[in-house]
């Protein structure tokens, strides 16, 4: 149970994050923070399905891409006027992602463990291949998000400064965390964890396993899609290579795994480490096409999985228990 100290620390952190763009007014630090928030949010969404419910999805980019493509295609429909707003696109994307997740989940949840993970990879590959070959959404060339000036909240586009993006990203992250926290304390959360621990024992206690797996999938997919929409509106260009690849699915997992799967703070810690680390390696090692940053990622993943699969949160908790 969170102590008064925990609460105070969380509030202090929130205050610091809210004040950050007022102190750091250059675009680059804000950009780094925005990407930390985005990845933390994606990892939090993934955590609902994989961390709490125990279903390791390695194809989550599918939902990210759904959100990105849905809002972008909508935004291109000029005849809709204000109804083409990316906010509606975000809702649309989330709804589509939820629908897609149920369609995927129905067959794939019959599999367990490694088999499930491989099936999610297969689904991800199928979707990416289909989109690459679907000229209606730009195919391999991708889509440009239509630039709309002046900056406006309703169009979710800001070209003068990153400040509003920052707050939107933070808001999305807080939303994801709030949903996560609410789930954990509710019956749903207990059922999720029971399914993770022992699906059959849970069923013997009356837990409708299939139904709850689908719910976990739905929440996870919807949140991930919202992140996809934000990304599209931030970067202004999407293509299968950037929003649907296996490497993105893995990166999302990695953020959660590094920080601590199945914990509330894990995704934040993971993102806070990996995004700057990615920057450092990209600046010093990558960008020459030599993929040395990925070499480091690979080593990092191996080391974490061997030494502390529970992630940094587990290290932290172990340290606390000893003291």
């Amino acid at each position: 149970m969170p102590t008064a100290l925990d609460r105070a620390a969380a509030l202090a952190l929130l205050a610091a994050l809210l004040a950050f763009p007022l102190v750091f007014t250059l675009p680059y630090p804000r950009d780094v923070m925005i990407r930390i928030f985005l990845y933390a949010m994606l990892a939090t969404a993934w955590n609902v399905l994989a961390g709490y419910c125990g279903q390791i999805s390695l194809g989550h980019a599918v939902f990210f891409g759904t959100g990105a493509y849905a809002s972008t295609v909508l935004a291109k429909q000029d005849w809709l006027g204000v109804w083409a707003s990316p906010w509606l696109g975000m809702l649309l994307g989330a709804a589509l992602a939820v629908l897609l997740s149920q369609v995927i989940g129905y067959p794939v949840f019959r599999l367990r463990g490694h088999y499930f993970a491989i099936a999610t990879i297969a689904v991800g590959e199928i979707v990416q291949t289909l989109v690459i070959n679907w000229d209606g959404v730009g195919g391999a060339r991708g889509l440009f998000v239509p630039i709309k000036r002046p900056d406006s909240l309703i169009n979710l586009q800001f070209h003068e400064s990153k400040q509003t993006y920052y707050y939107i990203a933070l808001a999305l992250l807080l939303l994801a965390l709030a949903i996560n926290r609410w789930i954990v304390r509710s019956r749903t959360g207990y059922y999720f964890r029971a399914i993770r621990e022992d699906q059959d024992a849970a069923a013997a206690l009356g837990v409708p396993v299939a139904r709850y797996k689908q719910r976990a999938m739905a929440v996870s997919a919807g949140l991930t899609a919202a992140g996809g929409t934000f990304y599209a509106q931030y970067v202004f260009f999407i293509d299968p290579e950037s929003v649907l690849p296996l490497s993105l699915s893995i990166l999302i997992c990695l953020v959660a795994v590094l920080g601590g799967v199945g914990t509330l703070w894990g995704p934040l810690i993971g993102a806070a480490i990996l995004v700057p680390l990615g920057e450092v390696t990209r600046i010093h090692l990558g960008g020459t096409g030599k993929a040395l940053d990925l070499v480091v990622y690979g080593l990092l993943i191996m080391i974490i999985s061997v030494i502390q699969p529970g992630g940094i949160m587990a290290l932290f908790q172990r340290g606390l228990r000893r003291s």
Partner: protein
Amino acid sequence: MTAEVLLQGIVSGLLMGLVYALIAAGLSLIFGLMEIVNFAHGEFLMVAMFASYWAWALWRLDPLVSLPLTVCLLFILGAATYWGLIRWILDAPMLAQIFATFGLAVFLRSAAQALWGVDFLVVKNPLVEGRISLGGLFLGLPQLVASAGALLAFGALHWFISRTETGLALQATAQDRQAASLMGIDTQRMFALGWGIGAACLGVAGALLSLFFYVFPEVGATFSLLAYVAVALGGFGNVPGTLAAGVVVGLVEVLGGLLIAPALKYAVVFAIYLAVVLWRPQGLFGRF
């Protein structure tokens, strides 16, 4: 779509399928032993292909000539992977196991890219090249040799597992780790051996593939996915089953490309895979 084109496709799917079978066999063996999916399987194949390529580029050794070397190299790589990485995660949660081999995959793939770039490399003027004509069908000689080699290797693997004492010890360890160790079988050695042999299969496959396939860091990715599909179809741990499953995958790939669309052929393979495991989660021939 003439009958001739179709027949040609079926034959080439069959030939390629035998190579897939060999690739999948190694994966199935490892999984049968310790219930770990080697997500770096494709990257092992890539290493084998690069080894063959460099043996040719540096010392003018034809892939068929350097095959034994490649096999030894891969055997060592497999056993070393067990000793250095897998040994520590045998009883770890599944997520940790997935990530351990996945991290290895990322590491190998990007190390290859860092060392040798992204260019598509190819072995020129191999000992075996050209086509032969067989009853109106054209069969690439390298492909034919590769399939024959794969079939031979598969047979050797099957013989080893079912007829030699070590092979039977491997099977025993796969079925019941504790019982096997109680009977004096050194399970650690068995596991390392399993990884070594599984990787050695890839050594053979990689050397054979380098006769006619492009060599580049990402080449393992598609092969590994197809291998997973073949293993799942054949039933995890069921090595003989992967022969049929590999052929099925090869056929579906070609026919999917011919009958639906070439760009979608892998999508078809995965879709068929999903359809099969839905209907029979234990695969076509698996028992659990």
